[in-house]
Amino acid sequence: MKARVFVTLKPSVFDPQGHTIVEALQSLGYGDVSDVRQGKYFELDLKVPTPDAARSLAAEVADRVLANPVIESFRIELSEQGAQETRS
């Protein structure tokens, strides 16, 4: 089972990198790009039998290690099942 974990800064937290990128894009003429939030992407291979177990394990490691809950939120996608979970 594979899980994909997307970690981004919470909406309430200023993202200096995303801000710099959107400014650069706008100066290149991409005025229709109104905001950019930069994040991290993880692919997990999980040795568990069910999608529920995969989701639960991915959420646990995302919450404990991959994301810092003080500033970040994460979203999980199970690639084989297309299941999805969002938590902040």
């Binding site: 800064l9 200023f14 200096p16 290690v65 810092n68 003080v70 500033i71």
Partner: protein
């Protein structure tokens, strides 16, 4: 008085801290490798600056799970003095011994420069010999020192007097212009509820001798020696 300096893979201010304690202050000092599970007979623990585990994932995020950190937590929970400098501060935030988190500096630049910080509180073991409002000239060297915490947490830090250092001008004025990284409320250092765990981004251990451009950092080390001496004198009287 024995200083334990924890060494993580990628620590690079461990020798500076050891030198300050051992050679400048004349105290006992020892290195403790992060795989150790005991801090031995240490009286003070220092988590030094550097780039533990290459700053992979987030600054301090991997170091937090090092075996020695269970002993550091136990030491801190017992009310004993722990100082986290720069990456050491980031590790204290990641492991939850101090609240908040670090974001990239607001200008995305790595800042390596002398700054000034104002001492806000003198009731921590690392600031007992300071005067409130005293300005210290200390170096910073970080890319992620932009302190962030939820507004309620910041409010609580302010209300409980847990902001120990703020970035300031040389004459002690806290302003946005004196803030090198965008930290909320100009926060350069905070302490735990028990006040025995202190974290700060500037490097006092790199400013303990005139030859280093400033010896303003020495007072933090002198303070903890004084605080521990006072504590053991009180205990002796108690016995």
């Amino acid at each position: 008085m024995k200083f334990a300096v924890v060494v993580f893979p990628g620590s690079n201010c461990d020798h500076d801290a050891y030198h300050a304690a051992k050679h400048v202050l004349g105290q006992d000092a020892t290195f403790v490798w992060h795989k150790e599970t005991s801090l031995g007979d240490a009286d003070v623990v220092i988590l030094p600056g550097g780039f533990s585990h290459g700053d992979y994932l987030r600054t301090g995020a991997i170091a937090r799970f090092s075996p020695v950190m269970a002993a550091v937590r136990e030491f801190a929970d017992a009310g004993r003095p722990v100082l986290g400098v720069c990456n050491g501060f980031q590790i204290l935030l990641e492991c939850g011994l101090l609240p908040g988190a670090m974001l990239r500096n607001r200008d995305l630049k790595f800042h390596c420069a002398f700054v000034h910080v104002r001492v806000e509180k003198t009731d921590t073991p690392f600031t007992v010999l300071c005067n409130e409002g005293q300005v210290l000239k200390l170096p910073i060297a970080h890319g992620e020192g932009n302190y962030y915490a939820d507004p309620e947490v910041v409010k609580d830090l302010e209300a409980s007097g847990r902001i120990v250092f703020r970035y300031a001008s040389p004459d002690g004025e806290v302003s946005d212009g004196a803030n090198p990284n965008g930290s909320v409320n100009g926060i350069a250092g905070i302490c735990s509820e028990q006040r025995n765990v202190v974290g700060l981004m500037p490097h006092p251990e790199r400013a303990c001798e005139h030859a280093m451009g400033s010896n303003d950092g020495l007072v933090l080390f002198e303070s903890v020696v004084k605080a521990l001496a006072t504590q053991s004198a009180l205990q002796a009287v108690g016995e």
